[in-house]
């Protein structure tokens, strides 16, 4: 009824009101989402950035003052942080590379229909649904010689001289979370690449084989070029995501032994969670944020130069 009443009003005014209502509709729909994101993510982000320049310790009631760049000065001399930085590169690089390689192979294996494909697909993708804390615990138990078979198998294969827990071996500890991460993350790459594979028109392969291309040539000249954009974007996003992914390390090793598995993200969490030093944690977080931004920009620039060369 309201609209008919409006319709009786002089043309200029009703047009304005209608336009106003119509213009606001999308904002009404997006408002709840925006309010949530802004209050729970954007505001804390800004507050967190301010913490980086303040002394914020929950256990110290006199803290809270502005201290300028002190945290960053401390950071430059913090050996644990520098080790964490190095570990982050190692953790991220190894995880992404292995997840990608095994994920690509799996996607290629699942690309063509065969009997039982649906079931096989559901089973190999299952790890992705396992909660990360459980993935961490599960693998920690598998590496535990008391309860898990892996140390004994590795010993039998001659890889380990004694059936010890690799998670407590400073030299090998990082492999524990990496293997757990690869187990958990293969499905993500496989699913993404499988979707891209299925989008390649089948006639292309038929045309290529009529033109006399063998399986290897078909893979190199059709599959890879079609997958390349998906591979690039997935690796970029996953790299950022995995470098922030502290759950497995927190659960499996808590950064130990002797900080050998501490990555920057788990270091931030430890600073905030066990030491309750929010100021320092936020300073570390800012460095991580800047590094990720630089990484993303480098990728974008690299992409541009590569595109321009073509």
């Amino acid at each position: 009824m309201a609209t008919t009443v409006i319709a009786e009003q002089p043309p200029g005014r009703k047009s304005l009101m209608q336009r106003f209502a119509r213009g606001w509709e999308p904002y009404l729909y997006s408002a709840p989402a925006l309010i949530l994101i802004v209050t729970v993510m954007l505001v804390p982000l800004v507050v967190g950035i301010s913490y980086a320049f303040r002394d914020v310790q929950i256990l110290n009631p006199f803290s809270g003052g502005f201290i300028g760049l002190d945290h960053f000065r401390a950071l430059a001399g913090d050996r644990a942080f520098l080790v964490a930085l190095k570990n982050t590169v190692w953790w991220t690089g190894a995880s992404v590379l292995l997840q990608f390689a095994f994920g690509l192979i799996l996607a290629l294996l699942l690309d063509k229909p065969f009997t039982g494909r649906g079931l096989a697909q559901a089973l190999v993708f299952l790890p992705w649904a396992v909660p990360t804390f459980l993935t961490g615990l599960n693998w920690a138990w598998l590496f535990n010689p008391v309860i898990g078979p892996l140390p004994h198998w590795l010993h039998a294969l001659g890889i380990l001289s004694e059936p010890n827990n690799i998670l407590s071996d400073p030299e090998l500890a990082m492999w524990g979370p990496i293997i757990a991460n690869v187990w958990w993350g293969i499905p993500f790459f496989a699913i993404t690449l499988l979707a891209a594979l299925q989008a390649i028109p089948r006639d292309l392969y038929e045309a290529a084989s009529i033109d006399g291309a063998g399986p290897v040539q078909r893979f190199l000249s059709i599959t890879l070029p079609f997958l390349a954009p998906t591979i690039a974007i997935t690796i970029l996003l996953r790299t950022v995501w995995i470098s922030n992914f502290a759950d497995l390390i927190v659960v499996m090793t808590k950064g130990g032994p002797a900080d050998r598995t501490q990555i920057v993200a788990s270091y931030i969490f430890t600073q905030a969670f066990t030491r309750l030093d929010f100021g320092y944690a936020s300073a570390v977080a800012m460095v991580l944020l800047v590094l990720l931004l630089v990484y993303s920009m480098l990728i974008v620039v690299l992409r541009q130069t590569l595109l321009n060369k073509d």
């Binding site: 609209t3 008919t4 409006i6 319709a7 043309p11 009703k14 047009s15 209608q18 336009r19």
Partner: protein, 356 residues
Amino acid sequence: MASIDIRDIHKSYGKIEVLHGVDLTIRDGEFIVLVGPSGCGKSTLLRMIAGLEEVTGGDILIAEKRVNDLAPKDRDIAMVFQSYALYPHMSVAQNMSYSLRLRKTPRERVASAVSAAASKLGLDPFLERRPKALSGGQRQRVAMGRAIVRQPKAFLFDEPLSNLDARLREQMRAEIKKLHGELGATSIYVTHDQIEAMTLADRIVAMHGGVVQQVGSPLDLYDRPANLFVAGFIGSPGMNFIEARYQPGEGSPAARLADGTLVALPHAYALEPDTPVTLGIRPEHVVIGGEGREAAVELIEPTGFGTILHLALHGLPFKVFTTDRKVLNAGNAATISFPPQHLHLFDQEGARVGAV
């Protein structure tokens, strides 16, 4: 039912204007067909009347009330979509009654309106089915049914038959015409198919490039196309055009073709001597045999009912349609002539030139 007035309607998307000022008055109960090639703005115009597109400039009036700023639901119009847009999760009966239920119509009135529409369209056996379980033609009928249960002020059709195969399309075309005869509702029908336009319309609105080219009865457009676009668009196979120069002569006006020969014209025109003009003649009006000009035969297409001859006249393509089967054995050459009463004359801007 109601009249619809369209006054100087403009539509722009950003900086691109797609409708350049359309004026049109549709009388109560009239069946109007908007016809033109894709991108001519006919669908945009229809969607603006429905309220699905905002009006950039000008006014739309339904039943003498300005509706520019009314939401579609308050315009009391019904629309049949090209895709039918049937609600997949509702049965046929629910699809047809949705609009009435939204208006809180009493249950018995809804039931009687649906069953009346269903029996009119032969949909009674399908009322409880989902659209997915219907054939293309049945879906089309449901879409029609959804429109007629409401008894709206006007019906809008957006290429409603183009998803059907040729035979069904013919059948539905006839049914739509019959239905309009029974209901007498104001209807606006968009199509790119000139046969649909010719057969259905009280008046055709031919559009091109966001501008109305001509409004008139189907035979008007066929007999007296206002310009080269309409002349070429209406009729199949399309009209032949020949470049020529006007020669007033001494009581025997003619057009001089590029090769210097003359084509007799029915009467004199208000043109300067030697003005460049375009001569038009429909393939079905060309006479074959007897005295005339020679043309090479390039291709013969029998259609059963008649034959289309593809000729080369002075090196340019030229089509002739005839029901005389003798042309099937025409060989390499044919003689053709142009009856003066069937000649159309267009000036350099493409507009029809009238008699003095």
